[in-house]
């Protein structure tokens, strides 16, 4: 009862009061954590250092940025076009291996250096510049999006979910067992590919342990992904995606080619997975097949759904929240509770219970997500800034 009421009567203009405010918030948060960790914390007292390391460790913050990239990529498929993809982890894996292949000494019989930054003594292998790897990672996953999506997007949505589920299993399994493909070592199997090159940005080398810089770098990726998502959403293609999500039949009868449009969302959404995969590989300095399991697909999907399907900033909030809970939140809150009450509950082991509970509660009471999709057109029209203000005010009142 509560669910239907919220879903149907929720005012359209809720919560989001313009992209600009959110963008400023995002940039401020990134700048805060960078400056904090780069300049302030090293001089801080031990308790302060401990507090931030426990609750907001930079490693986790950087990983959150990767999750944002992933969730936004999936958001293009699930949130915009309304296609259920249960195997998104495949694209993460593919992107990761592109980084593994193209910027490490792994293919030791080759020696190919294209503006790369090979470590001294490891000049063999393939060493491409990080920008090129990001682009190639995106292109490679887009191609795989095409290969997977091409035949399956003609299926009805439930079947699409099943096929993507299959690919989400097949591709990581291939990576896990790819140490001997007809005598060639393609993926190095369970050991994965380690020792990735350090990133060299215009002569500035980001060392393996330069966490603040790495954080800044993946934040830039997330920022770019946010920007792309918003721009795409507000264009011709974004409208067609949403129209398909809203009513497939009506969309096709308004001249929107269904297959092509779904296809583009799938391929472009895959790029997010690819870029996230490259970013993650650089972050951890390698790519390891056993990380890419089905649960990841579900977590990313949960981020999109909880954040508010289709709304970029909602998904960012959803990804941040869930990723934080996953990596440190649950452990820290658990410790806090155990220390305060003298209990011995193993909180992280209840992760999925909590997850399931959260999902059920969301579906019952807030189906549209933390921050439901609600965009304000005026933000687009620079000549109507005045109207934007008006709507923002309305919005503040509307959002509880």
């Amino acid at each position: 009862m509560a669910n239907t009421a919220t879903a149907s009567t929720a005012p359209a203009h809720t919560a989001v009061s313009g992209n600009r405010k959110w963008a400023i918030g995002f940039i401020s948060a990134v700048a805060f954590f960078f400056i904090l960790n780069k300049f302030l914390l090293p001089q801080a007292t031990t308790p302060v250092q401990q507090f931030f390391n426990n609750w907001f460790s930079l490693t986790s913050m950087a990983e959150i940025m990767i999750w944002i990239v992933m969730a936004l990529g999936l958001n293009i498929i699930v949130g915009y076009a309304g296609l259920l993809d249960l195997g998104y982890v495949a694209f993460w894996a593919l992107g990761g291996y592109v980084a593994g292949w193209l910027m490490s000494p792994f293919f030791s019989s080759l020696q190919l250096n294209f503006f790369g930054n090979a470590r001294p003594g490891f000049e063999f292998g393939i060493h491409f510049h990080v920008f090129l790897v990001l682009i190639l990672g995106g292109v490679f996953t887009a191609i795989w999006g095409v290969i997977i999506g091409g035949p399956t997007l003609r299926l009805k949505s439930d079947y699409l979910a099943l096929v993507t589920l299959g690919f989400g299993e097949i591709i990581p399994q291939f990576m896990l067992n790819g140490a001997d493909i007809a005598g060639h070592n393609v993926t190095n199997g369970a050991q994965g590919i380690g020792g990735l090159d350090d990133v060299n940005l215009f002569g500035y080398v980001i060392g393996t342990f330069a966490l603040p810089e790495k954080f800044l770098m993946v934040s830039l990726l997330a920022g770019a992904m946010i920007f792309f998502s918003i721009r795409l959403r507000d264009g011709r293609l974004g409208r067609a995606w949403l129209a398909i999500r809203e009513d497939e039949l009506a969309a096709s009868m308004m001249g929107v080619p269904l297959w092509r449009t779904k296809f583009s969302s799938y391929a472009i959404g895959a790029v997010g997975g690819g870029i996230g995969g490259v970013g993650f590989a650089i972050l951890v300095g390698g790519v390891y097949a056993d990380r890419f399991n089905f649960v990841i697909s579900i977590i990313i999907l949960a981020m999109v759904v909880m954040g508010g399907m289709g709304n970029v900033w909602g998904v960012v909030v959803g990804a941040t929240t869930l990723a934080w809970i996953n990596s440190i939140g649950l452990v820290q809150v658990g410790d806090l509770v155990n220390n305060t009450f003298g209990t011995k509950i193993n909180f992280p082991s209840y992760q999925f219970l909590l997850f399931g509970l959260l999902l059920v509660l969301m579906m019952l009471f807030r189906r549209e997500g933390f921050i439901p999709e609600a965009r304000i057109r005026m933000v687009m029209n620079e000549d109507k800034i005045g109207d934007e203000e008006k709507v923002s005010d309305e919005t503040k009142i509307a959002s509880n």
């Binding site: 721009r231 011709r236 009513d247 001249g255 057109r377």
Partner: protein, 264 residues
């Protein structure tokens, strides 16, 4: 036949079978250019099925649909639509979580070109295209009389406004033929009368040919230049409103044989 002029839409011997059931039985039908024609018939007569054949949703078992001198039988739905055969839906099918303006702009999809990169980087051409699309959408919304709800979500509009928005969206395809599926369903007599005026205006202003499926006989009789009557998948009559009114087979189809079962 009472109307001359080139047929902008010509359906020839359309037959649709679902398994053993013949839903549409060799029906031929034309829409002369710049005319308002209606398709009527009791429930289950095959009107909607026929309609779906015209718009490409169903593949006819046999027969051909010629639109603007080109055969479109079997073409993809979206090609037929962007070719200028637009429709509205009996049970309104708007894109609820998109604004009125966006709803209209979706229908311009096929006439626009911006690709992924142009959209992301907002090239000059893309911005010009968007601005023009927005302007045209506003023009259409004004034309159907809901210009003030441009930025409202479609699902928040009143029923009447939603009907109007459907027409505006269909017009964004720059159609040659507009198919209206029971457009006055749920309207009160005043609204229906206003709708009759609107359809006439539409034809006069834009030179669009209009096909109406309608239950409200007063609307049909007022607005149509020609009426085709379907019953049990067959065309049982065709002619001017006056001819149809006095056609015994039509009366029989609607009221039953020799008036034994009087219905509304």
């Amino acid at each position: 036949m009472s109307l001359d002029g080139r047929a902008v839409l010509d359906a020839q011997d359309i037959r649709v079978e679902f398994g053993g059931l013949v839903a549409v039985d060799d029906v031929s039908f034309t829409i002369p250019e710049g005319s308002i024609v209606s398709l009527i018939g009791p429930n289950g007569a095959g009107k909607t099925t026929f309609f779906n054949v015209l718009t490409g949703l169903y593949q006819p078992t046999s027969g051909a649909v010629i639109f603007d001198n080109v055969e479109i039988t079997g073409d993809p739905v979206h090609d037929i639509a962007s070719g200028g055969l637009a429709r509205t839906f009996q049970n309104i099918r708007l894109f609820g979580l998109m604004t009125a303006q966006e709803n209209v702009m979706v229908a311009m999809h096929s006439k626009m070109n911006a690709g992924v990169f142009a959209t992301i980087f907002r090239t000059k051409k893309q911005r010009a295209e968007e601005a023009e699309a927005r302007r045209f959408a506003q023009e259409l919304l004004d034309y159907v009389g809901i210009g003030e709800v441009t930025n409202e979500y479609a699902r928040n509009l009143s029923y009447g406004d939603q009907r109007r928005l459907e027409v505006a969206r269909a017009l964004a395809l720059r159609p040659k033929v507009l198919l209206l599926d029971e457009p006055t369903a749920g309207m009160n007599p005043n609204e229906s009368a206003a709708f009759v005026q609107f359809v006439r205006k539409l034809k006069a202003d834009k030179g669009i040919s209009i096909l109406l499926i309608e239950h409200d006989m007063s609307v049909v009789m007022q607005v149509s230049e020609r009426i085709t009557v379907l019953d049990q998948g067959q065309k049982i009559a065709e002619g001017s409103p006056a001819e149809i009114k006095s056609n015994p087979r039509v009366i029989e189809a609607y009221l039953g044989k020799s008036g034994s079962e009087a219905s509304k």
